[in-house]
Amino acid sequence: MAVETLTLGKALNNGLRRALERDPKVLLMGEDIGKLGGVFRITDGLQKDFGDERVIDTPLAESGIVGTAVGLAIRGYRPVCEIQFDGFVYPAFDQIVSQVAKMHYRSRGKVRLPIVIRIPFGGGIGAVEHHSESPEAYFAHTAGLKVVACSNPSDAYTMIQQAIASDDPIVFFEPKRRYWEKGEVDTEAPLSAAHPLHAARVLRPGRDATVLAYGPMVRTALDAATAVADDGRDLEVIDLRTLSPLDLEPVYDSVRRTGRCVIVHEAPSSGGLGAEVAARITEKCFSRLEAPVLRVAGFNTPYPAARMEEEYLPDLDRVLDAVDRTYGW
């Protein structure tokens, strides 16, 4: 076993490297990913080691990048597209929703599109609109796409490889504010032994209330649980990991025990993933709920200027306030 301490960004870099080594059909493509190594250096050194025909610098043409990936995938490649920032994905939206999501269905399964679209998402780095957004609900709403979000280095390392190995198109969200956070990664464990890609995971067992999060908010949820542990409140934290399809069985099990549930995400609450999850929990666990399922989310505004970011983003206090409110019923 080779356990290394890696940042989340480096774990992704290593995961991409392993995928490139494992399968010559894996290609990376995106803006500034080669020579520059990507804005967040996630692809640092990969063009040098695998060549510019496998780690492809593209022009600024998001629709073209994703559309080209469709063609490559039809011809048997496994393209991994990097969208530089969350807010830059919209020019590619048409290709993703109209082509990537539908071609398998449209061809009655003849065409498979093993495409991964990597998107650094969320705020917390002092950036602004177009550079701090959480667009996951748009994609989770679209049948034919799978959507996942990693939250820690170990998952980042395995999930990116699992996503590349998947025969379905996957929108892969990376929590950009957590790129620099470190954690232990077992770089020699076989991928087959890893937690399945489309499975949620209980990160911290607890008795009193269930806190659900994904991507960058997982750390916030864990911190909230730690903060109240000394006060005798025992929070269970579940990392959803897969946003489409959702894996809610562990969530139902948890909520049936705790009777209380708070869902945390950075995206605005209205029409967000939390709404879907809350609806399903209500349908499955209604008689066991002690309180409504509450959401802690971004506000229903465009992403604000850097100076208001701290107020906009859910933080430990807002999570704990929501947990408190579940005790108010």
Binding site: D57, L60, A61
Partner: protein, 336 residues
């Protein structure tokens, strides 16, 4: 002033005109140099993309446009905004995110906006401003206004689909758009010949039926002359025009960019053709500028910047209660 007027101008008028171009370029450069300091001091947050090296394009082009003309810009737009005439204190306050900024503190460095000077915004999305310019120009055309919409963008935008859609639309409908491409050779970290099969961007525009020329973007007088001629062409109803300004940014793409994709020697070589130095040399040669005048100009600009910084420091931030305001024009409770 038309091109012919400019050519016929008296020497004193010409000297005054050159002084004004120099003043604008220096204002932009010194403003941004101060912004670097303020960014390091976290007075300015968000992103900061510097224009240093490219000042001749903003100063020369804006000098050739009228107050009625419209401007559409990019995220590297401090120079455009200042040369266009948005007050420096208003731009600086916006850099600070203060409520007195030209976008009331919500736009920041990348989204300067000022309807009074018909400056229809910076834009964080590469190529995002081009369709907007087509719409502005269509509105002017339908209202029979003899107005030019000058749309600035970089070489990177030429790769985006919107560029091609918009050049076609503008040419098809003979719209009064002046496409101002600032070709600084790099789309962030990717050099133009690694992103474009045809690097002669004016030739690309010509393929859509536009009149197109390339211009030495390091020569403010060339920029002004060519922009003036192009704007006259557009204003006369001959349809859109494409100017490719060949220029160079000395600084990294943004404050986070380690600038590993080019050689320092390349930067030094372009600095040999610095637009400010070149104009100063020329004016000195023609006895239009002496040491005293240059020192006075430096002092005047330093004072303007100091005043802008002080005003920004003292200005209020938007209250946090306003976070959810202005999401909709018609207010309603939407966050229940």
């Amino acid at each position: 002033m038309t091109t012919a007027d400019l050519a016929a101008a008296a020497p004193t008028d010409r000297a005054e005109h050159h002084y004004e171009l120099l003043r604008q370029m220096l204002r932009i450069r010194r403003f941004e140099e101060r912004c670097v300091q303020l960014y390091s001091a976290t007075k300015i947050r968000g992103f900061l993309h510097l224009y240093i090296g490219e000042e001749a394009v903003a100063a020369g082009a804006m000098a050739a446009l009228t107050p009625a003309d419209a401007i559409v810009s990019t995220y590297r737009e401090h120079g455009h905004a200042l040369a266009r005439g948005i007050a420096m204190h208003s731009v600086m306050a916006e850099m600070y995110g203060k409520a007195t900024g030209c976008s009331r503190g919500r736009g920041g460095s990348m989204h300067l906006f000022d309807a009074a000077t018909r400056f229809y915004g910076g834009n964080a999305i590469v190529g995002g401003g081009l369709p907007l310019a087509v719409g502005l120009a269509l509105a002017d055309q339908m209202a029979d206004r003899p107005v030019v919409t000058a749309c600035f963008f970089g070489d990177g935008a030429v790769a985006e689909g919107e560029f091609h859609e918009c050049l076609n639309l503008a040419a098809l409908w003979h719209l009064p758009v002046l496409f101002c491409c600032e070709n600084n050779l790099y789309a962030m970290g990717t050099r133009i010949d690694r992103a474009h099969a045809v690097t002669n961007l004016a030739a690309r525009a010509a393929a859509y039926g536009l009149s197109a020329v390339d211009v030495d973007g390091m020569d403010v007088l060339a920029v002004e002359t060519q922009t003036r001629a192009a704007a006259e062409f557009v204003r006369a109803g001959h349809g859109p025009y494409f100017l490719e300004f060949r220029t160079y940014r000395y600084r990294a793409h943004s404050m986070y960019d380690p600038d590993r994709y080019r050689e320092k020697a390349e930067i030094a070589q372009w600095q040999q053709h610095d637009p400010i130095d070149a104009l100063v040399r020329r004016m000195r040669g023609d006895a239009e500028l002496d040491d005293d005048a240059l020192a006075r100009l430096d002092a005047e600009i330093a004072a303007e910047i100091d005043a802008a910084v002080q005003a920004a420091e003292e200005a209020p931030l938007e209250p946090i209660e306003d976070l959810t305001r202005f999401v909709y024009a018609e207010s309603r409770s939407h966050d229940g």
